[in-house]
């Protein structure tokens, strides 16, 4: 049997990049690869989140567990997370979260002494580590915006206090992954789509009147097609807006023009959208995910079982050994 190499070299093209948003194309690979990347981003890229809360005083309306749960869900900047240890395998401490390798301590002290309700927000959390702080959502670009909403400036609300109520607590943040609890997931949204390939049968299209063309364009719930003002031809303006809803195909069939349009999903081309919670930058999130994916593959490649069973893997073994 002739050995055929199925090895491919995936390519990435970044389309749009912001701190918490990334859109890129992933080409020349298949769905398993794309999905693995997506899954790792959601569930296995580590971040830091509050995991242990010691409440000293809580006279607020929300009970202790409630507040602890809310604290846990506050995203913390986690650039350090990749280098940190999981507290369960930290050998510098016995897991009570006191050591710098695996945990970060936070303090919160708030008391309302005025008649106005006091919003306790993530800004009131004082961190022992300046690199790990609650994510700041205020956009520096419009800091001097007169219509700026002060609510967003104040961070994430934890609880509101009335006159005389007090909240005092110590919280320990630890490294973790989204698989354990969603609070450790750095991804707000990670999704991909197959890139659609749209072919308009121009000959058939020309048999349509302008009105028919317009109504056909209208039948798509998203704006995929438009009409060229000059030539009055139907053009694809945004293929990615297509949601594989088949509406245009059905419409074409209803108009008696079967085969007017041919839309196929490219099997090897994906458009990723990654939105980060702010714990890590979206770009870093992707890099971390790739890193973790590599580590996982390494773990398989280098494990004793794999070496022993090397023969069974055949060509795959060659791949894994870096062939």
């Amino acid at each position: 049997m002739e050995s055929v190499s199925y090895q491919r070299f995936p390519k990435i093209k970044i389309r749009e990049m912001k701190d918490d948003y990334l859109k890129f194309e992933l080409r020349e690979t298949d769905a398993s690869m794309a999905n693995a990347l997506r899954r790792v981003m959601i569930a296995e890229v580590p971040t830091i989140a509050i995991d242990l809360v010691e409440i000293e005083v809580n006279s607020s309306v929300l009970n202790d567990e409630f507040i602890a749960h809310r604290l846990g869900l506050i995203p913390l900047t986690s650039e350090r997370a990749m280098g940190m240890r999981f507290s369960r395998d930290c050998d510098a401490c016995d897991g009570d979260g006191q050591c710098e390798y695996c945990s970060v301590e936070f303090h919160l002290r708030a008391k309302c002494i005025t008649d106005q309700t006091l919003d306790v927000t993530s800004k009131d959390l004082y961190s022992s580590d300046h690199a790990v702080i609650p994510v700041d959502f205020s956009d520096p670009s419009d800091a001097n915006d007169p219509f700026d909403n002060t609510e967003t400036q104040r961070g994430i609300i934890i609880v509101k206090l009335r006159r005389g109520q007090e909240l005092r607590l110590r919280a320990i943040a630890r490294k973790g992954i989204g698989k354990d609890h969603a609070k450790w997931s750095p991804a707000a949204t990670v999704t991909f789509m197959y890139e659609p390939e749209i072919h308009i049968n121009e000959d058939l299209m020309e048999t349509l009147t302008l009105e028919e063309k317009l109504s056909w364009i209208e039948s798509s719930p998203t704006k995929v097609f438009d009409i060229d003002k000059v030539t009055q031809q139907v053009v694809v303006v945004d293929p990615e807006a297509y949601t594989y809803d088949d509406e245009v195909i059905k419409k074409a069939e209803a108009m008696g023009k079967r085969g007017l349009i041919d839309i196929r999903a490219k099997e090897d081309s994906f458009i990723f959208t990654v939105e980060s919670t702010g714990a890590v930058k979206a770009s870093q999130l992707v890099l971390n995910a790739i890193e973790i994916l590599k580590q996982k593959l390494d773990a398989v490649r280098l494990s004793d079982d794999t070496v022993e069973a090397d023969d069974q893997f055949g060509e795959l073994g060659v791949h894994m050994r870096g062939g």
């Binding site: 409630f66 869900l73 990670v190 999704t191 991909f192 719930p221 998203t222 594989y244």
Partner: protein, 1151 residues
């Protein structure tokens, strides 16, 4: 000329008509006045439980005064010149006497301190006080005769008329509707009781198919039931006081109608009626009864001789007449022995019976809502109070008499001293807290009248307050009363009824229903006379049923007749609309019975409707504008005759159009809003009119079990069990009812993104698959608060329980503070001590000082927390108060936060319940290319057979709602009036935001990353978490506790009981032939016992431990004793039989 003109006119009319029709066909939304705003206005003025409040207020303001006025004298039988008279009665402010100081109380104080929210009953009295022949008149004001439990938000309540801030200061939730009582700290509702109308003739078939006419009479003095029965073409009277049934003609003769002709005339001169009457007349003659005297003698012989009252024979002579006067149709008064009204009444009954005989349609329907009355809290309490008040009076009289009999009294006699207050207080309190209405005086013995107000969710409490409990016992297998009655339209909710045995019997009020209270009768009677009702006294029997006149019947009493019934009715209605007579007086012209019924009695259900003149609504655009501007209230609409209340009977005289544009010239009324035919609980279902009807009924039952917020003061309350949702939301797809009742402020559910697809196989049989990340983020998370109470008892010898400070290093006493009580905020686990209490060993005997008692005289009596093993709870609150015996009472609230787990029950608002089948990681969940990932997955098989189209529309509407940022509506039948968004409009919104019009999305599998083969119907649906959770139900046991008597394992989860191998399970094992398994299950694992059996006598022996040998007690030796194994229960049976002098002997043989 004239003809032509007429023709042209008619042609014009035709054209007009055509145009009209076109107008009707066109979408008419804009042309009609939007009357919806009336509804919030109506509910604002009324609240959700006005029926209870009105009824109670009526009792407090009028009813109680009537009772006291009717029994206002206590006269000494010894010295009739000594008397006490109640001149006035009123209810004070709710207060409590603590250490001889009267203190104002609030309902919340009572809830927390387990006391009764009650106000003193104050009377003004006037009495003769005297000693040694000198008598003087004394007057005392505001004497307390007892304490009346006060309904919350009634006119006596401290919450009456308070605004939101004031209510909050009193610790009360502004959304709480009131209408219940606080008795000994628990909230009690007096359920609305459904009953057959009192004082009305009801023609019905009895079991044998005989026609009978029955009247349940109820006056202040007596209550009786009169039945006239037709058997073998002859008519008889059945009355409890007579031993046998009496020929009706005898009764007529006894009442002075000696001439048969007169009777025939009174019944009506129709030859058919005379023919039907003939057999009865003949029978009367066959008994030889011709005169009144003979008739009375005949009756006298029939009177049931009561065993004890045979004192004076002279009195007995007149007993028949007395019965006829006082008991027979007691609601018709006999003045100066004038029996004529009663004769006429009987004649009308006979006439109606004969009519029913000739024409089956004339039969009355017992299930017809118009023939029913609802008895509310005010009426029930007034019955109770009347009884207690009368009892008190007789008691006072008795004590006064015994005192006055003594000749040489030293002190002066003071009547007012003998008024006891405890009997009324305790009587009222006992009845309210047990729910047993035992009023001997009125031969009333009802159980379960009050119930503890359900506080599982806000909806549950509201639903509880509108519930109507049935008159029949539930076990009866009849379909009639359970069926939905057409007359329930708009009055009683067609959806909200329980499933199972009480199905259709327990009902709920609709949103706008009002229940009337009694209204003064005499002004209405004189008004009727003024409007041309011809008095009965002036009419001969012949004239009674003349073809051109109608009888006028007022509250079941025949007033007379009227020659122009329609004009009369119109005049009455005009007066009502003008506000000259009460708005709840109903005028009903019954063409079939040729009678005008006027009703002003309490307990009728009615609802407001817009009045229309010739099909044109009286409410115009400017009225509604004034309402919006606040220049007009609902009452103004009522007073100006734009709106009126119609009861079920009067609805029969009305032609009610659903919408203004549907009105025809004949229309007399227009509905305010069609969705008001549903009740409060059914009102929270979106698009209920698209669902299969039983689904809505199921939801009504489930909406009451949903967790959420129960009130704004929920954390300040001390409920014994409280379920709260951590993040409750208001539904994305709301209804108008939701906003009206405040469900949007106290929601009980969350908007979950639902994908309708199959996933993982753990979603069969209605199970749902949940997203773990959603649960991590707080979906379905709930707080369970449980109350534990403990009293620090004081004993008769002066000793009392004591609470000790904890010992250090004792693991179980970890959560205790220095005062020996668990501190709030401490984490408490199964087996922890939360009160370190000790009780004295000696509790009787001579008085001892509590401090002097030595430590050895106490035994530990610590309170140990019994939670679920492995779960940790938190002490939420500790409250200390004193109970009614002045003991220290410690209440704990222990909190447990739970996240959903496999087996927890969830439900949408469409009767689609399901348990969580599995919980799956977010990355394995399907996702759309926008990144939307569902919170839960529901199996599509839930749809075809359930036909809950409403749920699908809810999904669509919710999806459109989140896309465009506007709450969508789905009120029942709301599409034409704009209170429900149409699917077309929703689809348009969806398309505008880039979704498919049908709500389906293109989805990728989270496991493979490949697109799914089908488009998936996905969007937000409001999901409720129901109170049934696995944690409270799961149970397993290996070995454990046993019942002392039988030595078998205990039963039930609470006692860590065993799982029973029942009859059917046993049969299975028998069928399989697994004899050893059976032996093991039923014997070894249950109550195996080693018994000593004597082979000689066959009786049980015993094992003598000293001799190390088995003995037989009967034979006195151990020669032939064998040891055998048998169930302990069997041994017990043998011994029990022996104790009954039955000797079971065991005959043993070698196996």
């Amino acid at each position: 000329m004239v003809v032509v003109q007429a023709d042209s006119l008619s042609e014009e009319n035709v054209v007009d008509h055509l145009i009209d029709k076109q107008k009707h066909a066109a979408p008419p939304v804009k042309s009609a006045v939007d009357k919806f705003q009336l509804l919030p206005e109506f509910l604002k003025g009324r609240g959700l439980v006005k029926q209870h409040l009105d009824s109670f207020n009526y009792f407090i303001n009028i009813g109680i005064k009537k009772i006291v006025r009717a029994n206002d004298r206590i006269v000494s039988t010894v010295d009739p010149s000594l008397y006490l008279r109640f001149t006035d009665v009123k209810i004070g402010k709710p207060s409590m006497v603590v250490d001889a100081i009267s203190e104002q109380i609030t309902p919340h104080m009572c809830r927390l301190s387990d006391t009764t929210y009650a106000a003193p009953i104050l009377v003004n009295i006037e009495y003769i006080s005297g000693s040694h022949g000198r008598k003087e008149k004394m007057i005392k004001n505001d004497v307390v005769i007892g304490r009346m439990p006060i309904m919350l938000r009634s006119c006596c309540c401290v919450l009456y008329g308070k605004n939101e801030a004031e209510l909050a200061r009193l610790g009360e939730c502004p959304l709480d509707p009131g209408g219940y009582f606080v008795v000994k700290g628990t909230e009690k509702v007096i359920l609305i009781q459904e009953q057959l109308s009192k004082n009305r003739i009801i023609i019905d078939n009895d079991k044998k198919g005989n026609i009978n006419a029955s009247v349940t009479s109820s006056t202040e003095a007596t209550k009786s039931k009169t039945v006239i029965l037709m058997e073998k073409e002859k008519m008889y009277l059945c009355l409890n006081q007579f031993a046998k049934k009496i020929p009706i003609m005898v009764v007529m003769k006894a009442m002075g109608m000696e001439s048969d002709q007169e009777v025939v005339q009174m019944v009506g001169r129709d030859p058919r009626y005379s023919a039907l009457l003939l057999p009865s007349i003949e029978e009367c003659a066959s008994h030889g009864v011709y005169t009144q005297q003979q008739a009375l003698e005949y009756l006298e012989a029939m009177v049931k001789r009561s065993t004890y009252s045979s004192s004076s024979t002279e009195k007995q002579e007149n007993r028949a007449l007395a019965i006829l006067r006082d008991v027979f149709i007691a609601n018709v008064p006999v003045r100066k022995n004038n029996f004529r009204p009663k004769c006429i009444y009987v004649a009308v009954m006979l006439r109606r019976m004969m009519e029913a005989l000739l024409n089956k349609d004339a039969m009355d329907d017992k299930d017809y809502v118009g023939n029913k009355r609802l008895e509310l809290s005010g009426q029930l309490i007034s019955l109770l109070f009347e009884d207690l008040f009368k009892t008190m009076i007789t008691e006072v009289q008795k004590t006064a008499d015994t005192l006055l009999v003594k000749q040489n009294r030293s002190s002066r006699f003071d009547f007012s001293q003998y008024i006891v207050r405890d009997s009324i207080t305790n009587g009222l309190e006992r009845a309210l807290s047990t729910g047993n209405w035992d009023v001997k005086r009125f031969r009333m013995n009802r159980k379960g009248v009050t119930q503890v107000l359900v506080r599982l969710s806000y909806m549950a409490s509201l639903g509880h307050m509108t519930r109507i409990s049935p008159q029949f016992e539930k076990s009866r297998k009849v379909s009639g009363p359970r069926a939905l009655q057409p007359s329930q339209w708009g009055m009683l909710c067609p959806c909200d009824t329980p499933e199972g045995e009480a199905c259709g019997l327990v009902k709920n009020l609709a949103l706008m229903t009002h229940v009337t209270t009694d209204e003064e009768e005499s002004p209405l009677i004189s008004l009727c006379k003024c409007l041309g009702v011809e008095d009965l006294e002036l009419l001969s029997g012949e004239e009674l049923h003349t073809p051109n006149s109608f009888l006028v019947i007022f509250n079941g009493l025949i007033l007379g007749k009227h020659r122009r019934p329609q004009q009369f009715a119109n005049a009455m209605r005009k007066l009502r609309r003008a506000g000259k007579i009460g708005e709840f007086v109903s005028v009903f012209v019954n063409e079939k019975q040729r009678a005008v019924y006027i009703a002003s009695d309490g307990g009728r259900v009615c609802r407001p409707l817009v009045i229309a003149d010739k099909g044109v609504s009286r409410i115009k655009e400017h009225h509604m504008r004034e309402l919006m501007d606040g220049a007009r209230t609902f009452d103004d609409f009522l007073h100006e005759g734009l709106i009126e209340y119609l009861d079920v009977n009067e609805e029969n005289n009305a032609l009610i159009a659903l919408y203004e544009w549907e009105a025809t010239p004949e229309t007399t009324h227009i509905e305010i809003e069609p969705f008001t035919i549903l009740g409060v609980v059914a009102g929270l279902i979106p698009y209920p009119h698209h669902n299969q009807s039983p689904r809505n009924t199921y939801q009504c039952a489930m909406g009451k079990q949903a967790m959420g917020n129960i009130a704004y003061n929920q954390l300040g309350r001390m409920d014994s069990l409280l379920y709260l949702l951590v993040y409750p939301q208001r539904p994305l797809l709301t209804t108008r009812t939701i906003e009206l009742v405040g469900y949007d402020k106290l929601g009980a559910g969350q908007n979950a993104t639902v994908a309708v697809m199959s996933y993982s196989g753990y979603d069969i049989e209605d199970a749902i698959v949940m997203n773990k990340a959603s649960l991590d983020r707080g979906f379905g998370r709930c707080i369970v608060l449980k109350k534990y109470t403990c009293t620090n008892q004081k004993y008769e010898n002066g000793a009392s329980d004591r609470i000790l400070r904890p010992r250090k290093n004792e693991e179980r006493e970890r959560v205790l503070d220095d005062d020996g009580l668990a501190a709030p905020g401490e984490i408490i686990r199964h087996g922890d001590i939360y009160i370190n209490k000790e009780s004295p060993i000696e509790t009787r005997g001579p008085l001892k000082s509590a401090a002097a008692l030595a430590d050895v005289k106490y035994r530990p009596c610590a309170q140990i927390f019994k939670g679920t093993e492995g779960e940790s709870c938190v002490v939420d609150r500790v409250a200390l108060c004193s109970d009614k015996n002045n003991n220290l009472c410690i209440k704990y609230k222990i909190r447990h936060t739970r996240r959903p787990e496999v087996g927890d029950k969830f439900s949408s608002r469409h009767g689609q319940k399901g348990v969580c089948g599995t919980i799956i990681q977010q990355e394995d969940f399907p996702f759309s290319e926008r990144g939307i990932c569902p919170d839960l997955i529901m199996n599509p098989h839930g749809f075809p057979s359930r036909m809950t189209v409403g749920k699908m529309i809810e999904l669509l509407g919710g999806k459109a709602g989140v896309s465009c940022g506007r709450f969508h509506y789905g009120s029942a039948f709301g599409e034409p009036s704009g209170h429900a968004d149409r699917v077309e409009a929703i689809s348009e919104t969806l398309v505008k935001h880039g979704f498919s019009y049908n709500g389906k999305d293109f989805i990728y599998s989270g496991i493979t990353g490949c697109p799914l083969q089908a488009y998936i119907f996905m969007g937000p649906i409001y999901y409720q978490k129901l109170k049934h959770m696995v944690l409270d139900k799961m149970h397993a046991r290996g070995s454990g506790p046993r019942v002392m008597l039988t030595r078998q394992p205990t039963d039930g989860r609470a006692r860590n009981g065993g799982l029973r191998v029942g009859e059917m399970e046993k049969d299975c094992l028998v069928a399989y032939g697994t004899s050893m398994l059976l032996y093991e299950r039923l014997m070894v694992s249950s109550d195996q016992f080693e018994a000593q059996v004597c082979r000689a006598c066959g009786l049980l022996g015993y094992y003598n431990q000293k001799l190390k040998a088995a003995m037989c007690t009967t034979c006195k030796n151990g020669d032939k004793v064998s040891t055998m194994k048998l169930p302990y229960a069997c041994k017990l049976l043998i011994q029990e039989l022996q104790s009954m002098n039955i000797v079971p002997r065991l005959k043993l043989a070698e196996a």
